[in-house]
Amino acid sequence: MSYTLNYQGQAYKVEIEEDDKQISLEIDGKKVPVEFQKIEENLFSIIYEGKSITLGVVKKGHNLQIFLNGELYEIESVSERDKRKTSQIASGMQEIKSPMPSRVVKILTKQGDEVDVDEGVVVVEAMKMESELKSPIKGEVKDVFVNEGDAVEAGTVLLVVSSE
């Protein structure tokens, strides 16, 4: 089986070969023989190149959360078909999303405004704390999808900034 795994925008191709003797992975062309074992439902132990590594793994559809040494890695497994879809997202277009379930306290900009890098665009409140969301790019506010006072879910797109 062959998988394309996306991590932080970078795609890695992993090929798994299984024959009667061993499991071997080819990662971006490098061949790695791996001995592995599921320890608990969500705990994997892998032994390869002399290292013993334990990872937490949760799979939700094509999204994987892998936990190693305090870090949670979010990996997306993309099939060939999905890959074409993903590439349609316009470059230079940045969605400002709510990072958690929260309430929109203040919208600091409006459609058509020019915003700078790191300029605050929305203030949200969650867990009794206000946070200012900033624009990661310099550009124009293309759309604002929420109103002050709205309760929003994690991942809700609040507004879109475009650098083009």
């Binding site: 299984e18 790695v32 892998i46 793994v57 190693l68 890695y73 929260s102 969650a126 867990m127």
Partner: protein
């Protein structure tokens, strides 16, 4: 000793108090909101009562409901934990009226120390050094005037505040107005009171606090200091005891000052006197917290003194059997607060469900938490998952132990700050003890993973995908090779991918 105590709190501190009660042979009564039916404090208590909606204002903050449960269950005392009603004068008064012992100081002591402006006056009268600032709550205009007088940088603080809420550091005049607005708004929603005051900001300050314990017979002792300089958003993240920055002489002076302040308000129970300290060990009174502190375990680890048990005993009328000279400290303790939050986005809370959890253990490791595999971290409450505390004979060994323990921690399902905490444990300035409250701001490189080895992550991801594919496609594919492989390893009945 009391027969039954109600714990008017939730989460790890409720669990901590329940455990203390059980060891004292006291029955425990838990209360819970809609969101907390499955919480560990409910599971561990002997009795549990539902008190309303998930929002604290509909449950944990409703005095009538808590007192109703106390009466119904026959609880003789209430431990408020921290947060919620723990520093609420009205609650302490209502308990007294209902003839239920409030495990904490008198309503009067709460009032005097609860208002920071009054607290400053008391400290001033006791000749305790103070940071220059406004003499009380100020209007927007007054604030401007004071700030122009004392000069930037300044701190804006909520009069009724605590825990960093409604607090803002302002370095330039241009930022002042918006910061003031945000601070007032946060203070209003958090404490129902938007009054604020302003103070000169001490450069490179360290946050040092003294734990005090007072019985009802006028005996007050301190249990040395904790250093809580590693903060994000003015909230403590990593605490330790003792501080590596103070001399024995300063320790003694600070301890004596803390005892003096406690005596000035006829304090009873456990309390904490907080100071900020500059680089020359000059310290200034900040505030007194009239409750048990989140970070109390580090003090317990170096003294062997069980603070929560003593709070209960003192409320029960027991006399402190120790003199100050009998209290000794040994070794070094570090606490890391494990939060559901994302350091990469300014430590934004990250509620969700914990799909999988493995907790570190072993010699010198204490994990105070109320989480478990499958539990939900709701947006209704503080996103703290656990307090991981370690003890070792030296600071260096304690830091190594903490790093080792953090590496054993596995939390899946939501973002945590574990990676960040690990990076702090490995950072040179931290290891050398060169820390102050600006430490995290000064080290933005700690917010993101450094050089990572993505290979094992990809291997695990591919194996998980492949395993799922094999399961889905059933017997048609040679997927059973996975199982065969397991058998080859001679695994006697073990689960195999």
């Amino acid at each position: 000793m009391f027969n039954k105590i109600l714990i008017a709190n939730r989460g790890e501190i409720a669990v901590r108090i329940i455990r203390a009660c059980k060891e004292l042979g006291v029955s425990t009564v838990a209360v819970y909101s809609d969101a907390d039916r499955r919480s560990l404090h409910v599971a561990l208590a002997d009795e549990a009562y539902h008190i309303g909606g998930s929002a604290p204002g509909e449950s944990y903050l409703v005095i009538d409901k808590i007192l109703d449960v106390a009466k119904k269950s026959g609880a003789e005392a209430i431990h408020p934990g921290f947060g919620f009603l723990s520093e609420n004068e009205e609650f302490a008064k209502r308990c007294e009226k209902a003839k239920i012992v409030f495990i904490g100081p008198s309503a009067k002591a709460i009032r005097l120390m609860g208002d920071k402006i009054t607290a400053r006056k008391i400290a001033h009268e006791a000749k305790v050094p103070l940071v220059p600032g406004s003499e009380g709550a100020v209007s927007d205009v007054e604030a401007s005037v004071v700030v122009d007088e004392i000069g930037y940088p300044v701190m804006i603080k909520a009069s009724a505040g605590g825990g960093g809420k409604g607090m803002r550091l302002v370095r330039e005049k241009g930022e002042f107005e918006s910061a003031l607005r945000m601070a007032r708004s946060e203070a209003g929603s958090a404490f129902g009171d938007d009054s604020v005051f302003v103070e000169k900001f001490v450069e490179q300050p360290r946050h040092i606090e003294i734990q005090i314990i007072a019985d009802s017979y006028g005996n007050v002792i301190h249990l040395f200091e904790r250093e809580c300089s590693i903060q994000r958003r003015h909230q403590k993240v990593i605490e330790e005891a003792p501080s590596s920055a103070i001399s024995d002489r300063t320790r003694k002076k600070m301890g004596a000052v803390a005892v003096k302040i406690a005596k000035a308000v006829d304090y009873q129970g456990a309390g904490t006197v907080e100071f900020i300290m500059d680089q020359k060990q000059n310290f200034f009174f900040l505030e007194m917290n009239t409750r048990v502190q989140v970070e109390h375990p580090v003090t317990e680890m170096i003294t062997g003194f069980d603070i929560v048990k003593w709070m209960i005993r003192i409320a029960d009328g027991e006399k402190l059997p120790f003199k100050q000279s009998q209290i000794e400290m040994k070794g070094h303790a570090v606490e890391c607060r494990v939060y559901a939050e994302d350091p990469e986005t300014n430590f934004m809370p990250s509620p969700g469900t914990i799909d999988y959890l493995r907790v570190p253990s072993g010699p010198g490791i204490r994990d105070d938490s109320s989480i478990y595999s499958g539990c939900e971290i709701t947006p209704h409450y503080d996103p703290m998952l656990s307090k991981l505390v370690v003890w070792a004979d030296t600071r260096e060994a304690a830091i190594e132990k903490m790093a080792s323990a953090l590496r054993e921690y596995i939390v899946i399902g939501l973002k945590t700050n574990i990676g960040f905490l690990l990076r702090v444990m490995g950072e040179e300035e931290f290891k050398e003890g060169k820390i102050d409250t600006g430490y995290i701001e000064r080290h933005p490189e700690l917010l993101k993973p450094g050089d990572i080895d993505i290979e094992p992550v990809l291997i695990a991801a591919a194996l998980a995908m492949n395993n799922a594919d094999s399961v889905e496609s059933g017997e048609q594919r040679p997927a059973s090779n996975w199982k065969l492989y397991g058998r080859k390893l001679g695994l006697s009945g073990g689960q195999v991918l």
